[in-house]
């Protein structure tokens, strides 16, 4: 497998910057000629993931979005590089914000899942989009 390109964005963990992550996602997918419906779905998924990370981080640190174009797919990963040990995306977390958001993302992108981050301590949401 060859990596075609990697794009990344790191935003302060505040609600007011989640829109920046959406704009980044939208601009990137439009550049890659993705259909509008896919762009809208990806914006929603990124918004859910970033919003949940913001809640979990309680306004401290940052949220990172990384997009890797690989073999006709765009892999999107959202995590908190500052060492977050508990994420609102934890499926065992009670309430709407944790599992509700993850299930919403999964309804849009079936392969959406949580994976261990670097060092195994940072939950990371990952999903992929077919580009062709």
């Amino acid at each position: 497998m060859s990596v075609d390109a990697t794009f990344s964005l790191e935003i302060p963990a505040t609600a007011s910057h989640v829109g920046t992550a959406r704009s980044f996602t939208s601009a990137l997918l439009r550049q890659l000629a993705a259909p509008d419906e896919i762009v809208q779905d990806a914006k929603l998924a990124v918004s859910e993931a970033c919003s949940d990370a913001v809640v979990a981080l309680q306004g401290r640190g940052s949220v990172r979005l990384r997009a890797t174009a690989l073999d006709g797919r765009l892999i999107l990963e959202i995590d908190a590089p500052g060492g977050l040990r508990h994420s609102g995306l934890d499926p065992s977390a009670p309430g709407l914000s944790g599992p509700g958001r993850l299930e919403l993302v999964r309804s849009l992108f079936a392969d959406a899942d949580l994976a261990g981050g670097p060092g195994g301590s940072v939950p990371r949401l990952r999903f992929s989009i077919a580009l062709d």
């Binding site: 609600a15 959406r22 809208q40 914006k43 929603l44 918004s47 859910e48 919003s51 709407l96 509700g100 958001r101 919403l104 309804s107 849009l108």
Partner: protein, 65 residues
């Protein structure tokens, strides 16, 4: 509530709508949404809230219901 000009909404927005619906019903009222097919309607549909809110195609339809 007319969502016709809403370009984007995630579950944070849904939470606001649900809170509004709860308050309206506690006060003996009802809250309906005006929303056509599109990204906003899709969020309502995939979360099942299209079965919770009365949803209409136009304000006139909502008022006349």
């Amino acid at each position: 509530m007319n969502l016709g000009e809403v370009g984007f909404m995630d579950s944070s927005g849904l939470g606001v709508l649900v809170a509004g619906l709860k308050r309206a019903r506690e006060a003996g009222g009802e809250m309906a949404l005006v929303c056509r097919e599109g990204p906003t309607y899709k969020v309502l549909a995939i979360t099942g809230l299209d079965r919770v809110f009365p949803i209409y195609d136009s304000v006139d339809d909502a008022v006349g219901s």
